[in-house]
Subunit: 148 residues, 4 copies
Amino acid sequence: MDTEKFRHTIELRVRNFEVDWQNIVHNAIYLQYFEIGRIEYLKHIGIDVTAEQINSASKVVIVRNEINYFLSARFDELLRVYTRIKYIKNSSFAFEGYIEETSSKRKIADNISVHVWLDQSTRKSKRVNDEFRDKVSSFERNSVEFLT
Amino acid sequence: MDTEKFRHTIELRVRNFEVDWQNIVHNAIYLQYFEIGRIEYLKHIGIDVTAEQINSASKVVIVRNEINYFLSARFDELLRVYTRIKYIKNSSFAFEGYIEETSSKRKIADNISVHVWLDQSTRKSKRVNDEFRDKVSSFERNSVEFLT
Amino acid sequence: MDTEKFRHTIELRVRNFEVDWQNIVHNAIYLQYFEIGRIEYLKHIGIDVTAEQINSASKVVIVRNEINYFLSARFDELLRVYTRIKYIKNSSFAFEGYIEETSSKRKIADNISVHVWLDQSTRKSKRVNDEFRDKVSSFERNSVEFLT
Amino acid sequence: MDTEKFRHTIELRVRNFEVDWQNIVHNAIYLQYFEIGRIEYLKHIGIDVTAEQINSASKVVIVRNEINYFLSARFDELLRVYTRIKYIKNSSFAFEGYIEETSSKRKIADNISVHVWLDQSTRKSKRVNDEFRDKVSSFERNSVEFLT
């Protein structure tokens, strides 16, 4: 993975109850890790991610997740979660995530998640708003694709 | 979704702690639902899914998950989880899953998960064993593809 | 445990991701099981437990949990969760729960949880309402204590 | 809470999926927080808490948990988890935990958990070993009670 394209990372430590009977992190837990990355990313670029915002007039919903699992993470390992916005289309955008074990740089998992901007009253998709576009654009500089 | 191709379904009820602050089932929880479906499927066709088996000489690992989210599931709804094996290749196979709300048949989510057969000592992939092929084949009849 | 005093039970099956690296159900998961029991109990006696109700004028909050762990539950075991209301005081009440493995009646865990009735605007405790008292009383008959 | 008696603390941030439909941390999640505190405590004083150790000749099992819930924690709050060993008896010991919100010092929850030392072959309780007693004693100094 070319990690140079990512301008945001966090670290987290694998907790004992995230590990399953095979002694490795359970496959659904990685979705939590990628989501922690996305939320920290949004906070970092100045987007409000409180529950109040999320229940306001427009709402962002997740419509797709793709995860590839490489090598398993284990209890007490420190993981680095890389997060970026890969593209913004008219009414949707995609996050890309990547997880490696911090010290060995062992490749753990990657993720694409697709999110749609919804109008709360009509339940129809609407244009990703300009504040969001601007904040992503000024953080990511040239690396995010605007596809429309 | 053409649910006729599925010969295995289970029902489960959404639990209150599976619902997030948006009052809908959290996106990672659906991976748990699909996995419950897969485990019940394997038990149903006579495959041993105990921890002992899982830690034996050959081990099946998940290498990819794809989930599409349609309409959200909510607290206390009864969901129907459809599960089938879509294909078996030389050393891998894929499950397909589909979730609908039972009474309204509202489309909730679908899933493809890809699994690889590993040799525990060499950590290399190995041929999906014949017992597994036979059990899947006799349960699914003609609907599973053998791609090798 | 004298299970005769319980007039409500449900059954649930241990899911693979509820089991930890010791191959037994993780200690925090039992709190989920007891809560599933309480919610089904409330639904059964006719109490509305939707999110809307929960965010209405009065709100019930949990203030204490006590769990004793006896023998561990394991993957795929079927558990029976017994639930009753043990007492109702002026502004609080307690649930009692008990879990056994269904076929062997192996003793798994027990629980007392204490809940307080709050006024949403003042955030002060208020009297447990009469509808709740009546429904519990007519379901439990003489076995619940009214301590006021 | 007199936090002066605690010589070990960690900080953790509330994750979005730990928050329930009431917009507050779900009651079972606090058990995870206290456990994270205990594991970091054990690592800090030099006790091996890997899965391998845990499945070795003697095993420590949890037999009781008591949690009092004070004020709710919310999404994105930073929490401080205090952990200490309160007493060591012949074959059991107890952890005490306390959680406060870091900036306001708002009181969130406290916990007592009781653990028993087991012989893996006989399944009977055995004396808490001397290495454990010594490490706890030298870390806690006079504040831990040895009750036997």
